[in-house]
Amino acid sequence: MNKQAGREPVLSVANLSVEIPTRQGTLTPVDKLSFDIEQGRILGVVGESGAGKSMTGNAVIGLLDPPAHIAGGEIRLKGRRIDNLAREALRKVRGKEIGMVFQDPLTSLNPLLPIGEQLTETILEHLPVGKTEAQNRAVAALEEVGIPAAAQRINSYPHEFSGGMRQRVVIALALCAEPSLVIADEPTTALDVSVQAQIIALLKRLCRERGTAIMLITHDMGVIAETADEVAVMYAGRLAEIGPVRDVLTAPIHPYTQGLMASTPLAAKGKKRLSQIPGAMPRLTDLPDGCAFNPRCPIAKDKCRRPPAPNLDSGGGNAACWYASGARS
């Protein structure tokens, strides 16, 4: 993607690969992925189930479950490499510089501690403030994410909140150390439409007011349209297409993105039948040769069925396709 001159991206991922050794051989759930996120920008990462979205997010925050591991590439946070840090150093970076929000808020909260204590602990660990100040900031953090009567609720336990409220608490926790990057993996998937709208508005506001860079993983194209500045479309562990959100959603150039957009009911606009992509995404254990999308692709040719697989450069920088229609500049 075009970098603005003189501005260093908050997150820069280059040729990132993740591998999992298994009995059937080595799987590559993330295959040479590259993208940047600048300050105050939201990168949406979309793709079908198993495309490698969570693996990518987990690789960035250094939380891959073994035997999955980073097998190549570089991850830089504000210019500093973080993919090769020792465990303890990485843990510090994670708490201070990177906030995390997962689909299930309970995975990020300690059920045995009042939420106020969890916030205060995190603040004390990462910011140079005293106990009283940390407590004040904890209340402020809860207020900021819209928890009513925050000062009274500071002693409540996670289970005393509804799902939407819990997700707000997690966001408060992710943000209280004032990180420069937030990774949100399906933060609203388990929530109702009205609560989702509240959480999305909150993330956008924080991004705007604090300049936080956000990597927003979701499979909901509507959420992406309303939230993201750029979008990366993943397919079978690879980047299929990347670009400004409006371009990718309204004028996609990769046949997979085109198929995906056409198959959403929103795009059908009164037509009786939805356009459909035949088949399903291949498993990592039997990826086809060449382009991973070729068996489902309406315009696949011989070149697509042979190695090497196309990368972003094959499609003019924005789409991993030899025949990307009308490459954008």
Partner: protein, 327 residues
Amino acid sequence: MSKNKTEEALVTVQHLTRDFDVSPPWLNRVIEGKKKAILQAVSDVSFDVKKNSIYALVGESGSGKSTIGKIVVGLLSPTSGVVRVDGVDLAREADKTRLEQTRAGIQMIFQDPFASLNPRWKVKDIIEEPVTARGGDAHGLAEKLLEQVGLSAADVSKFPHEFSGGQRQRICIARALAAEPKLIVCDEPTSALDVSVQAQVLNLMSDLRERFGLTYLFISHDLTIVQHMADTIGVLYLGRLIEEAPRDELFGNPHHPYTQMLLEAAPKLDGFGREVEPPKGEIPDPINPPSGCAYHPRCPIAVERCKNERPGMEQKNKSRVACFLAE
């Protein structure tokens, strides 16, 4: 209700209410002095589903969609009110043969195609089970149905784990079709599926409806799917039906403030940079629902009357709306 109207409705739901006893255990009630607690999952809901149409129930989590679906297929009984399918009251019909016949004509498709297929059965046995269980002749049936849902006749001897999510949902649909149903109740049939696969399953459901004259009760929380599929839509809030309208009317001219909020909050594919005023509040505790109109604490236009009196469904042009202030 006029004779004519009942004739064209396949399903009539009248004043349907379903309570669940969610009291703490007896001992706790005695020791800690806790009261009995009743959760009204469905509260005085009435609607008709016309033959060969798709009626969608939408609403947020806990609004009572699945409970209504289960009552319509006879998996749960109503606390009060009546559900008739093809004129037969499933909870009270005395004629056993008639009841069995009607039951067989209603099939259900669930959200999770992974949980709803027996992993140890071959596809053939899964699909033919509804027929063989009644002693019917299932010769060649599975092969035929698999082709009708876009799979291959050769798949009969495979096991569920050999199929993808979308293919499994097709197998569920084939099984539902085996009983030659008139009515299919689908509870979030595609929410476990990816977008590209979802399109395959929704198209299949539309095709089958035309081919076999099926009627669907379609349960979903996804407004975009509902807008694509449904002829008529009922919106539920906290167990109550608050608006019902033909598809274009509901999306073009929503009357109830809750429906308006829901449509406004749903993310739009062309909503680039859209700033929505986030909706106020959260869904209340269903065990202690608000008085009067259940939506009044969150409603931007509520007045005193909304706190004290529960609005009934009133006809407003092409819609039915439960709101004192709806125009």
